[in-house]
Symmetry: C3
């Protein structure tokens, strides 16, 4: 399906029936608010009953050209807790039809003969759009390379709203690899639509790309940058941490000099506010010490759980059952 | 289960309860007609409600020793839309029990302890028969190497009947690799039971094998052969295209000389009848131009969808619920 | 979850709600009896209706770090026949989150955001305990390397009880690789709690480890050892066969000399009692001749089926629905 109309006239939740979810640029605060209300309902349903029969007899094709345990498990559980079922196509994609030279549009047009909605993970930027253009049924982008991963950004935003009540007025810091992190770029685009202060904390070589920064300034967002988490930890409502990958550094001595500025420890958390939250898209390696996990402000596992609720809301919405 | 009695006394649909589906030779026009009536019902159910509860609490083991995205997805969706569930065993088969030296009969006899029906894809000819002999529960052959792929032939025939109303009286042309194409051989066997004209279009080195040709002539079928699609496209009700693989040619110059005779373009389709259909078992590579897809006579994606309906009919039938 | 309290104060079945299943040492004859009563009910339900709705809207994460067709298929079918659904994570685990360096506790804590219970197969001893310590939801150990595989031991014991009415008073012989066989060690631990006679039949280099033997003697079990199945086959109620792997022998001539002592043939079975059973954890290679399969005393495929029933009982129990 062609998403441009959505991108131009932002989607309200009741508009999502039959639509694709390709990019965060489809959403504005009003449509996000509507989706988050459905998400609240989904969470209440799961906590009360474990699930519902809303999508009984509906079938999701989960087409993962690269493995992603977390994202695929989250979508599978979301569909199952809605009463629907899943065709898991996670391994072997590259060895079967695709190895026989089938194009992505042909694979998609075949799968939509069997399924009611397609979730696609693909290593190449723009793949989700190509799939959506080929499909008559809804396509949900579950990550297309360095491109977009809109459901991740939505679950991040939902987690902030859920923990802190509202987005407007918050001071949010993004930490780590801000240059290559798809997650950070998508969430930043969503946040630019709210009245927030953003601080970006990274080593020099992993700073936020200029175009993203300029978009934020054009949108009138109050933006700052710093090298050191300690500088800002006492003043933020949200500390969103991503991984600083050693492999990104050509000069390993440089890495050794800066790496400790980006590791969250109980000591760092002692300087943070009482009501702030610490987020991470996971998987986490060393950038948050495990001794922080017991801190009630550590929100990363709740964040994963919220992902299931947001995906339930989106699946119900695109299938016209929200 | 031993299918010979079926092969000798052709199956009526209500006879399929507890039976295996191993070969097209199990079926005659009467039993095919009965299966296609159930298939019509399955299609109506899916279009109206998405599915049914007919096979609730029934479990299918989908045992794929080689990946086949299309066939496995089709069977999985079929079972799920019938209300049943699926144990997907697609990857890892070769690394687990099998790598420990377990025989196919032992694997099958174990899986039937858990499942009510087994769908088997295996690279070796005759595997489905070996599995069925070992099993007390129904086994459905989803392709055994160069052997049979009976559900593919059934969905092909259903698609022809569905589009053109009847099989008798039709002129059907098969195009491409007629020598190695399992699909073509199986469909041809089924068509030989009807009053049809068949034309085979292929390069010399990919002609229909002599034994298949002789069987057709013995059955009294009106059979012709030609090198060029253009010769017959204006006179056929069905153009069934398969891939001409470059790898089959030892002399690449020969390939270059003939390849264009076997590519279906909008230009070729302009010479075709208005009410004919263009079929392909998929995946398609270059043998049908993408610009043909929008032609209402292009039936290949519908053909895939019909595969799900036929498999629903067969699963319901072998489990005694048709 | 921490299982020590279970290990100390043995579990009754109604105690299993919310608990982990990590080790056979959690169980005593009273709790085993309670689990086997539920297992009897599960079997009756499957035989009568195919399944039940007991675990509708409950989700199982099947996390297999190494493939195990039999065990994963058995757990998947068990959950589905209880009306629940499954997130299958069998391949790709090692290539996704894990390859990004995620720790097992983090993977588990993420998956429990989506699922209600986690079944874990992992190549490293102690992994199940680590996972259970990290999880708030129940974890079931489906094999952790050379460690434990408690559900296998439970299904073995259930099969003996089911076939022979009671455990007390039986003479049970274990045959084959008694040195490395996790299955044998776990079952032996369970049997030591009953009034049984045990005979161990193996080549010298595959004898039962001294510590296992000493534990049995300390528990007051009547234990014997011999080299040859023929010595004891006429006197046993249960002949439990495992594979003697050629690879275990450094001296291949030694292997050739002894191997035939450990292959069960129809000839051997002629010396066995009429009411005894022949068991094997499967996969079987050459250690039981296929010509023995038709013998009503050959219980190994029933044993696999009992595995599904036992796992249904355990899933229902840990989810508080038994």
């Amino acid at each position: 399906m062609i998403p441009e109309p959505l991108a131009r006239a932002p989607a309200r939740a009741h508009d999502l029936a039959g639509r694709d979810i390709l990019s965060v640029s489809q959403f504005d605060p009003a449509s996000l608010g509507a989706i988050f209300e459905i998400t609240d309902e989904m969470r209440a349903i799961v906590q009360r009953d474990g699930g519902t029969d809303l999508l009984t007899r509906r079938v999701l094709a989960a087409l993962f050209y690269e493995p992603s345990t977390r994202t695929s498990a989250s979508f599978i559980a979301a569909m199952q807790r809605l009463g629907g079922s899943v065709i898991p196509i996670t391994q072997g994609v590259q060895f079967s039809s695709v190895s026989k030279g089938e194009s992505l549009p042909d694979t998609i047009r075949t799968l939509e003969q069997y399924a009611d909605v397609i979730v696609l993970r693909h290593p190449v930027v723009g793949s989700a759009k190509i799939a959506a253009d080929a499909a008559a049924k809804p396509v949900i982008n579950a990550g297309d390379g360095a491109g977009e991963h809109p459901t991740q950004a939505l679950l991040d935003l939902y987690t902030i709203r859920d923990a802190l009540g509202a987005i407007d007025g918050l001071h949010i810091a993004m930490v780590g690899d801000l240059r290559f992190g798809r997650t950070v770029h998508s969430l930043t685009k969503l946040l630019a639509q709210y009245d927030v202060r953003l601080t970006f904390v990274s080593p020099e070589i992993l700073r936020l790309p200029l175009n993203v920064m300029n978009d934020l300034r054009d949108a009138g967002v109050d933006v700052r940058e710093t090298y050191n988490v300690a500088d800002i930890v006492g003043d933020v409502d949200v500390l969103y941490v991503t991984r600083v990958q050693k492999e990104r550094f050509t000069d390993l001595q440089q890495y050794e000099e800066v790496k400790d500025f980006y590791v969250i420890t109980p000591d760092i958390m002692r300087s943070a506010r009482r009501e702030m939250i610490l987020m991470h898209p996971l998987p986490r390696v060393t950038e948050i010490a495990e001794s922080v996990d017991a801190d009630p402000r550590a929100a990363y596992f709740r964040q994963a759980r919220n992902g299931m609720f947001v995906r339930m809301a989106l699946l119900a919405a695109v299938l016209g059952k929200a």
